[in-house]
């Protein structure tokens, strides 16, 4: 069964890991073309989750992303690129990873 949700409902949502620990907020979705016999679609392949994604939720534009990324190392900001299959959106308002933060950090480092 399929359902529709809006991008704006996902952006800024707090993401927790499998243990319920906070990871950050959804800042960006990366989509790529997927080819299939009936045509082609853009599908989301990655979720970009950052510690200060709240700013993105408040101002709602590209500027906030870039500012926080630039300030990055100074303010201890960290951004994770999470593959779609790691994200559980059965409750889209409360997205969860089906992996732990430790696994996420291990993946990010490798």
């Amino acid at each position: 069964m399929s359902r529709e949700l809006l991008l704006s409902h996902l952006i800024g949502r707090q993401v927790r890991d499998a243990d319920g620990r906070k990871i950050g907020r959804i800042e960006e979705l990366l989509a790529r073309i997927e080819l299939h016999e009936h045509g082609n679609d853009y599908v989301v392949v990655e979720f970009h989750v950052g510690a200060y994604g709240l700013m993105e939720a408040l101002t709602g534009g590209v500027f906030a992303q870039k500012l926080v990324q630039r300030m990055g190392s100074v303010v201890g900001y960290r951004r994770f690129r999470i593959p779609w299959e790691w994200m559980d959106l059965s409750d889209p308002l409360h997205p969860r990873l089906n992996h732990t933060r430790v696994e996420l950090e291990t993946r990010a480092e490798s």
């Binding site: 101002t59 534009g61 590209v62």
Partner: protein, 405 residues
């Protein structure tokens, strides 16, 4: 050859287009009450405007998108709405003052009260926008506005103390009435750095199809055009300082300014002032009405261009039509151009942060500007102007209350 013509036209537009009801009124009041003391505020305003216009012009030439377009896209709906409301309200008030300015000039020429002129002026302005192209709107009245060069002639003939004038470029504290002094300083800055000026300039660069080849033209026209234009506003300060200040004349009505250039230029001075006020305010009326339409159309992604027939972009043409007709109402009701001008110039200063600060992000974004991002000089200038705009935001309302008179 074509580039030189573009540069010449751009400078003419800057000269003829700089003066309008705000810069004339604030400069005259500054000169009559504080002689040369507020020259530094005008210089600061002119330099700030030159930098902002150069940047928004460069932004448009490189990205082929207007500043408003990029503002909406990069800062999202919520921020854009705040900026939209701030700029729209201020621009509409300035538009009201400009129509009042044209009406006042016609009253001075004919004796018929300015209130009767408000609607005919608005309708004439609308007809020019309806039928005219962007080139006609931008360059037509600005070329006629070269009449304002007579102000510079008048100021020189009034024999100013050049030494004292030169020293006045350095900021100084007021010798008396500080609230009024700083109020006029803020008003001059608001008149010089009106958001509609650089938003219109950015839209114009896209209307004219500017490319990266125009970066040099952009730098020269925004720099020299504003420098020469600012000199004409300086001429108003100087002449008011020499004609009104010694007689302790306080400017309470626009009509008093009719005698400003009579002393240095004779009876012709009166007619030159009236004609200049009429033409420059009319030109500003067209620019501001278009600027409001650009702001809304570009922000919401509607079809827009002054070069298209109105039915091809009906929402855009509806906006400037409604704006110019609504703006005629205060003058038609007899509200004085001077009161409208004084209030709108201070509000203009207060609205600056919403359109200045976002430029910091855009002008340093390699995806937008490519290899034409701001250098260190432009960034220092932009950050300084941003700090100034924040200061103006906080002091404008208190000063309007304490020094507005």
């Amino acid at each position: 050859m074509k580039k030189w013509l573009e540069i010449a036209l751009g400078i003419v537009t800057g000269i003829g287009g700089f003066l309008e009801v705000g810069s004339i009124a604030t400069s005259a009041q500054a000169g009559s009450e504080f002689r040369y003391q507020l020259v530094w505020a005008l210089a600061l305003g002119v330099i700030s405007l030159a930098f902002l216009m150069e940047m928004t012009g460069r932004l448009a030439a490189v990205s082929k998108r207007t500043y408003v377009d990029l503002l909406r896209e990069h800062f999202g709906m919520r921020f854009f709405l705040v900026a939209l409301i701030a700029v729209f309200v201020v621009s509409l008030m300035v538009l009201m003052a400009e129509i009042g300015g044209v009406g006042t000039a016609l009253q001075m020429a004919t004796g018929i009260a300015f209130a009767w002129w408000a609607v005919p002026v608005a309708v004439l302005g609308w007809m020019v926008l309806w039928r005219g192209t962007f080139g006609i709107v931008e360059q037509g009245t600005a070329t006629l506005g070269l009449l304002a060069v007579s102000f510079a002639v008048g100021a020189v003939k009034a024999h100013p103390d050049w030494g004292a004038l030169g020293r006045a470029f350095i900021p100084s504290r007021p010798t008396e009435n500080p609230a009024r002094y700083w109020y006029l300083a803020v008003s001059i800055l608001g008149a010089s750095i009106s958001p509609y000026l650089y938003l219109f300039y950015s839209a114009g660069a896209v209307e004219d199809g500017w490319t990266q080849d125009y970066l040099g033209v952009n730098r020269i026209t925004s720099g020299l055009g504003n420098l020469f234009g600012g000199t004409l506003a300086l001429a108003v300060i100087v002449t008011a300082a020499l004609v009104f200040a010694p007689a302790h004349i306080q400017i309470e009505r626009f009509e008093q300014l009719g005698s400003l250039f009579v002393s240095p230029l004779g009876r012709a001075g009166f007619w030159l002032f009236v004609a200049t006020l009429c033409i420059t305010c009319f030109g500003a009326t067209l620019e501001i009405a278009l600027s409001i339409a650009y702001l809304i159309a570009q922000g919401f992604g509607w079809e827009w261009s002054e070069n298209l027939r109105p039915a091809r972009n009906s929402r855009f043409s509806t906006v400037y039509t409604v704006a110019i007709l609504v703006a005629a109402i205060p003058a038609a009701l007899g509200i004085s151009a001077l009161s409208l001008t004084n209030m709108s110039m201070v509000l203009s200063a207060a609205s600056l942060p919403f359109t200045v600060i976002p430029l910091i992000a855009l002008m340093n974004d390699g995806n937008v500007m490519g290899r034409h991002c701001n250098g260190w000089i432009s960034n220092i200038a932009l950050i300084s102007i941003s700090v100034l705009s924040i200061a103006l935001f906080f002091v404008s309302l208190p000063l309007q209350i304490t020094g507005g008179g």
